[in-house]
């Protein structure tokens, strides 16, 4: 099997190995982890022709520069509107291409988005924990952080040149100004006017943003009465309110239990685009019922499946595409 190797020339903080995650371990204090933007994760694997769910590199706003030191391999980038360059050639932001030893791939923050996924045509050689390579940030368990100087190895590396293409990011991948929330489960800790403020006021994405969660700025959401609440289980997407009334949306590496009340929860299908928000972005919450959120989760699944299915279809080899282009040209010529 052919191998491709990379030297990490630069990796910003919060770049890490992620796979589909390790659900089922919250009862032991372990969140599922996995990609911040699952749509981007699935899209990168689909576009490079991998089976879903494998390990890839999640790139933060800190950016990533890889130099290929051995072999040749195809790759896909999806998620956000990052600046992707291969040597001096600008690709992407969502794209499939290949690189060979001596070439350098750079992924830097671009017009929008906070997280990009970089998948290779092959298998990333990484450590696993509890059967998953997803990195849990605080412990470093799983595939681990990607750090400057380290070597990244892809086993079974394939170029997959027939897949090289530019991908138009779907509009639903972008963060919207309106974010759905299901009120509760600890909304009883808040006065009616505070619950109303959650959906009538504008909040902003704060500076404290990592894989554990993002703090929001805006009006305080004071907890009515005492904060005497036994620790309760926490779901990803919970909007947890601390003692000073500051809401934090808990994300991929969240704590599994917590003693602060959760005023509302952002449903799973809305979290991927939400995670692509940036510090300073305005957020307006819109209350939805659990039933409506579930219905939307199903509709969103179908929309994603259609998008990913189309992405998984290889555009074909260069020769195939030239043949198609000639055919179209031929028809046009014939009409002259």
């Amino acid at each position: 099997m052919s191998v491709a190797r990379f030297k990490v020339v630069h990796a910003g903080p919060h770049c890490s190995v992620q796979d589909a995650g390790r659900p089922g371990n919250m009862r032991f204090g372990v969140p599922a982890s996995g990609p911040m933007d699952r749509l981007a994760f699935d899209a990168a694997h689909a576009a490079i022709g991998n089976p879903q769910g494998g390990a890839l590199i999640e790139v933060s706003m800190g950016g990533l520069t890889l130099e290929c030191t051995e072999g040749a391999v195809g790759f896909a980038v999806a998620g956000g509107g990052f600046k992707v360059t291969l040597d001096r050639e600008t690709l992407g932001p969502w794209c499939v291409a290949s690189m060979v030893a001596g070439q350098t791939l750079t992924i830097r923050p671009g017009e929008w988005g906070s997280w990009a996924c970089l998948a290779f045509g092959g298998t990333l050689e990484v450590e696993t924990w509890l059967g998953s390579a997803a990195t849990h940030a605080q412990s470093g368990f799983g595939g681990g952080a990607i750090t400057s100087g380290q070597v990244v190895t892809v086993a079974g590396a394939e170029r997959r040149d027939g897949r090289a293409t530019a991908i138009e990011p779907p509009t639903f991948a972008r963060p919207g100004a309106k974010v759905p929330v299901v009120p509760g489960p600890q909304d009883r800790f808040f006065a009616p006017e505070t619950l109303a403020a959650l959906t009538s006021e504008t909040f902003r994405i704060g500076d404290a943003y990592d894989r554990m969660g993002v703090r929001l700025s805006g009006v305080a959401l004071p907890v009515a009465g005492s904060l005497d609440m036994p620790s309760e289980p926490v779901l990803k997407g919970s909007v947890q309110v601390s003692g000073d009334g500051t809401p934090t949306v808990l994300l991929a590496d969240h704590q599994t239990t917590g003693g602060y009340p959760k005023i509302a929860t952002v449903p799973g299908h809305a979290l991927d685009a939400f995670c692509q928000s940036r510090s300073g972005d305005a957020v307006r919450f819109v209350a939805v019922t659990p039933e409506a959120a579930l219905k939307q989760a199903r509709a969103d699944h179908d929309r994603r499946a259609a998008f990913l299915g189309a992405l998984a279809e290889a555009p074909g080899s260069l020769a195939d595409r030239l043949a198609r282009a000639n055919l179209i040209d031929g028809v046009t010529d014939g009409g002259d």
Binding site: R27, G29, Q138, P230, S231, Q255, T257
Partner: protein, 225 residues
């Protein structure tokens, strides 16, 4: 409000089964009863169940089931649940209370009006069991610290507390698994790994397990680490 148990729909994909709103052994027994019944007979579409002091979070796949079906399934489980046989296993945890491994032990003893030896014996005498995991992987919250040793947490957290530290605050005790800051009192160090490294049984405790601490000397601690 007295209308427990309650089944609260959470987001697009979970139900929170609530048995009360305080830390109470009867309420907690109800949580464990449903948790065990669910493990024995999972509802359709179940992804995972997360027990805490007074409630159980049941996470499901929204493509396969919905809140009403899951709530109905949980209700049926509760109605049918016998007093499930105890499925807990008594666990033993070794602790070394030597000075440098127990930087807060003297202060804990002083504030409790005990000698260091009395404080150690008080800790060893506690009736501990694991109530829930939280905070970080393998952080098993045990209740059972004797009243004589119950102190509020420190005013400020200390950074870089090593993994394996045995820490207490109020009625709670836990063994850290990562190097982390903590505001709890560090009264010893355990060589017993909570993250076992065993793929078949990666965590030492199941929720509900009773735990006994056993004192070891420095030589035994060094030999075990």
């Amino acid at each position: 409000m007295t209308d427990f148990p309650r089944f609260v729909a959470v987001s697009d994909r979970a139900v929170l089964a609530e048995f009360g709103d305080q830390i109470d052994t009867d309420i907690y027994a109800d949580v464990l009863r449903l948790d065990r019944a669910l493990a024995a007979q999972p509802v359709a579409g179940l992804i995972e169940a997360v027990p805490a002091y007074a409630n159980l979070l049941v996470v499901f796949d929204p493509l396969e089931t919905d809140h009403d079906e899951v709530s109905a399934g949980l209700r049926a489980l509760l109605d049918g649940a016998q007093d499930a046989p105890e499925q807990t296993t008594a666990r033993r945890v070794a602790v070394c209370y030597d000075g440098d491994l127990a930087p807060d032990l003297e202060e804990v003893a002083r504030q409790s009006g005990l000698s260091v030896e009395e404080a150690i014996n008080a800790h060893l005498s506690g009736d501990y069991s694991v109530f829930l995991y939280g905070f970080a992987p393998g952080y098993a919250y045990m209740a059972g610290v004797p009243e004589a040793l119950q102190l509020p947490r420190k005013p400020a957290a200390v950074r870089g507390v090593p993994a394996g530290s045995v820490i207490i605050a109020g009625p709670q005790c836990l063994i850290t698994t990562l190097t982390m800051p903590t505001g709890w009192w560090i009264i010893g160090r355990s060589p017993t790994p909570v993250l076992t490294g065993d793929a078949d049984r990666p965590f030492l405790f199941d929720v509900g397990d009773p735990v006994t601490f056993e004192r070891i000397d420095r030589a035994a601690f060094e030999a075990a680490t």
